[in-house]
């Protein structure tokens, strides 16, 4: 009886229902998300007194000026380049697989592929990253295999290359790249596959009916319609790479990435303002990236 009256009461006030529905997520968003973001933004306008080691709570832009140091600019460009390369590699690996899965695979095969793609996400990220250490290490699987195949010369030649190489694959930018591509790949496959599955078969048939051969159909119909999925996936791979600090710490040499720099400034040197300012970097890069994606028409379908 009471419940009945309550539901009638709510039925007559749809706006109240909507409000009640949205209240919990709104509280979460405003307090946790926006709260922490604005605290960070605020902190980035303070500075660290180099002499006392104390944060001075006074508005200044000098922390941001520090970002323009050549070393810091290099960290930004290195991280952005890595994120871009990882994203491109993920697209090239993910697209054919998603295409097969969305257009040709049988139901069972599709389920199997879906599981195969998402299964690694069930296990701990750190465990998976460490297992790559074993694969890439000097005495690891790859160098063992290279020796078996008498390719150790080629491997050594590669490791001697500047920028790409290092003492071993597990301490090189190539290693970082490989591990990044591995751990973020599912985040690229799933949105592309979803986008491809939403392209009706009749559109592909219509294109070939109008005289387009398979590659023309791919370029003119399938690719443009799958593009939003590619952009969605790249937002994941790009931003996750920009912010990650574990992979560069485990596989990198001394050259910093944004995430590692933030960790160091925050943890080791207690320079919270600089760490905060550093974090604004990826946010600005992501905003620029999203604006570019919008210009390319990625969100037209939304």
């Amino acid at each position: 009886m009471m419940l009945n009256r309550l539901s009638t009461f709510l039925y007559q006030r749809p706006k109240l229902v909507l409000g009640l529905l949205l209240l919990p997520p709104l509280i979460w968003f405003v307090v946790v998300y926006l709260g922490s973001l604005s605290t960070m933004l605020l902190n980035s306008f303070f500075y660290l007194d180099g002499f006392t080691g104390q944060v001075v709570h006074q508005f200044t832009l000098q922390t941001y000026l520090k970002l323009l140091d050549p070393t810091n600019l290099q960290i930004f460009s290195r991280t952005t380049l890595m994120a871009a390369l990882v994203t491109i590699a993920c697209i090239f690996i993910a697209f054919p697989l998603s295409y097969y899965s969305a257009r040709f695979a049988s139901r069972r095969m599709k389920t199997f592929l879906y599981l195969a793609v998402t299964l690694p996400l069930w296990s701990s990220y750190v465990v998976r990253v460490y297992s790559w250490k074993l694969i890439l290490a000097q005495e690891g699987i790859i160098s063992w295999f290279a020796r078996l195949a008498h390719l150790d010369g080629a491997l050594n030649w590669y490791l001697n290359l500047p920028l790409l190489g290092g003492p071993s694959l597990s301490v090189s930018s190539t290693g970082i790249f490989l591990v990044f591509v591995y751990i973020w790949l599912p985040y690229m496959i799933l949105p592309i596959q979803t986008a491809l599955e939403r392209v009706p078969k009749s559109l592909v048939e219509a294109s070939s009916d109008l005289g387009a051969n398979p590659s023309q159909t791919f370029l003119n119909v399938i690719l443009p319609l799958a593009f939003p999925g590619v952009v969605a996936g790249s937002i994941f791979t790009f931003s996750l790479t920009l912010g990650d600090f574990i992979v560069p710490s485990l596989f990198g040499n001394s050259s910093f990435f944004i995430g590692k720099a933030v960790l160091t400034y925050m943890g080791t040197s207690g320079n919270i303002p600089l760490a905060a300012a550093f974090t604004m970097g990826p946010i600005v890069i992501m905003i620029a990236y999203l604006l570019l994606a919008r210009r390319l028409g990625a969100f037209d379908a939304l």
């Binding site: 559109l203 219509a206 387009a212």
Partner: protein
Amino acid sequence: MSGSAIIFKNVSRHFGELKAVDDVMLEIVDGEFFSMLGPSGSGKTTCLRMIAGFDRPTAGQIFLFGEDVSNLPPYDRPVNTVFQDYALFPHMTVDQNIGYGLMIKKVSKEERVKRVDEMLDLVRLPGFGHRKPSQLSGGQRQRVALARALINHPRVLLLDEPLGALDLKLRQQMQVELKNIQQQVGITFVFVTHDQEEALTMSDRIAVFSEGRVEQVGSPAEVYEHPSTPFVAGFVGTSNLVEGEMAKRITGSESKFSIRPEKIHLSAADQKIGTDMFSVDGKVRDVVYLGLYTRYLVELAGGGDLVVVEQNLNTTSMEVMKARGQKVRLLWKKEHVRYVGGHDA
């Protein structure tokens, strides 16, 4: 009318155990409006898809203008299709959709613009070129799909239930328009539909499909007036099928026959019978007033029932309703009876 546009020679399409199309022989004449009529799952759409090249026959051959195209891909066939869901490219404007075939053929930009505009005029959508398909109504999308196919000057246009998604008024209007356009461009139209009225309205000839086979091919009048199988009699228009004991009592022979509801006269129970007539007595069980005409369900004295349709020429709804429960005599001319031997559908 000249030679044949399309020939099906013993064409079958089996999906595993399912015989979607089973040993079909067909000839479609160049320049005609040809309909494939049948219920869903009767194989008509599969036949259309095999002409377009989206499906390949598992046995038999398909000839387009004398050339065996059974194994040619869709993009090498001189046919174009209007799809059931229109299949307009959502990321392109109306102009780009219509010009797609020309763009693929690398026709110059000026030529393309000119021909797209001509097409927009033909389908009466001038000025709509810059819209996206999502900004069009169902009827407008339909016309864009038609223009996109016709601009390529196909030798055969295939239409897969293109009017199915439209409301009744628009559908009737498009039926007339399609027929006009077909006469204007003078090419062969192959039209798939499950709507017998649509097929009767537009077609030069109709093929009636059932369970993967062609039951009958003929002009609308032939198919309607001389159904060659019980299935055709039942599917094209409504028909009363009478067989066995009752058939013997009416005609003196046990062979199965069909009689159209509109050919039967509802008369007083003591009506005299001419020698050129068949008759049977019964009682009106149900009356449905449908405005233009009234449908009566008459229970026959010897069991079974017949549907009778009479135009409301002089009667009002009040009057026709009074017929319920009355004893009547049903009369029809012997020449309107069709003996439809063979299997039951």
